[in-house]
Symmetry: C2
């Protein structure tokens, strides 16, 4: 069994750390990376501070096969991700010929023509060697530099960039999961039996997640991994164990 | 001006990294920490893997004044946060007399009596020296160990624990912010003038956040910091600048 490639997500932005903005990118990226077999191993939210961005990028790009960043590539003074990536890679931050030409044409084509001003020119300025990530929604592209993929923070632009990227990434074995719910069951009653099931399927990840709903409490038990047959067998073992505990397992139902 | 204490949040759980669960704790903790003047400087999502938890806790507890963790303190095999904290601090992981007695009494008081079994006993097992974080919702307490505050992952339990903690934390100067919206305005048009305003208020954090709504696009401009008068003055400068750019500033409106 070859190892799946790994990924880290850097969410760059003071607005997430202050609580002003609820991040909406982590869950999207996490799910999609699971589907293409590049599991997300870590996510980090960091502020718009140059040395923190540079140091963090250099730390995680050495540690994971892929690093995805969101945020900080717009035209304003607090958008410093791109120049920080150049610094992290030790290359010049300079006009990217293709991005520059594309954006210049775009603003000239508007009626009335838009101003391809200094602020907008910053969005066409990239680390030397950057590979563009085009997208259908925003004229300003993201880019990849080595194993670091730099995307916008606005969710619909981020998603368009991610999907463009996803076509080029060499994925691994998809992560599949099966969920079994048990209404009315408390985690503490089944913990020991569940640990036994985890021990029988050591290559899988068996998780237990209590839920509290107006219609009643319960627990969602998840078997997850790259081996589809083992995941199905573990889910069956979980369902049988719930039944033996006097409850009714509900398989595969969305929560 | 004394420096505010700093905070880091560790979100511990495979379910967030797989995208199964949308984190709902970061924004709550971030907002509340801003209010009590202990700004959140970093958040990290890490998996339920012993050595990663131990190493990360030791890294961030040295780096920040406070570390808050969420998740991994339930009764199941994948709940390993508590024993990892003991390992990080190099102390025994052992029954906590008060938590143990409290939980034992609780399960005995149920009708019919609940079983204070091995799994539940794990929730009363803590690093030696842990200080309990009681809460009104769950019988199982969180705990503080040095500057590390260990809380549940379930949002309403986490919030109850956080509020209990908040009464004891020595906060700093609250972070205040003012937001000015400009409908129809593109970031790229105002970026240069905004950078000038940032330069005039170097102790503040001026952020620019575009929004895309069914009713129209625009940009939200935020002045943030510990100096209330400077924040108000910067917000006025931003509003004046928007007006001078031919748009109508909308101050303080919730988004």
């Amino acid at each position: 069994m070859t190892r799946n490639p790994t990924a880290c997500l850097l969410i760059i932005g003071n607005e997430v750390l202050s609580g002003r903005t609820q991040d909406a990118n982590l869950q999207y990226v996490a799910r999609r990376l699971g589907e293409i077999g590049i599991p997300l191993m870590e996510a980090r939210v960091i502020p718009d501070i140059r040395e923190i961005i540079v140091d963090t990028v250099n730390e995680v790009r050495a540690k994971f096969d892929h690093v995805f960043t969101t945020g900080g590539i717009g035209p304003t003074h607090d958008d410093i991700t791109s120049e920080c990536i150049a610094e992290a890679f030790g290359v010049p931050w300079e006009p990217h010929p293709e991005a520059w030409a594309r954006m210049e044409r775009y603003y000239a084509s508007l009626n009335p023509p838009g101003d391809f001003n200094k602020a907008r020119q910053r969005m066409a300025t990239m680390p030397r060697g950057a590979r563009l990530i085009s997208n259908a929604i925003s004229i300003a592209p993201g880019f990849s530099m080595g194993n670091v993929h730099v995307m916008a923070g606005v969710p619909r632009i981020m998603q368009a960039m991610f999907e463009e990227l996803a076509q080029q990434l060499k994925g691994g074995v998809p992560i599949v999961s099966r969920t079994v719910h048990a209404n009315g069951l408390a985690e503490g009653r089944i913990a020991e039996g569940l640990a036994d099931i985890q021990a029988r399927y050591p290559t899988l990840d068996i998780g237990s997640y209590p839920y509290y709903r107006a219609t009643g409490n319960g627990v969602a038990l998840v078997a997850k991994g790259t081996e589809e047959e083992a995941v199905a067998a573990a889910a069956q073992a979980i369902a049988a164990f719930i039944r033996a505990s006097g409850f009714t397992p509900i398989e595969g139902e969305p929560e």
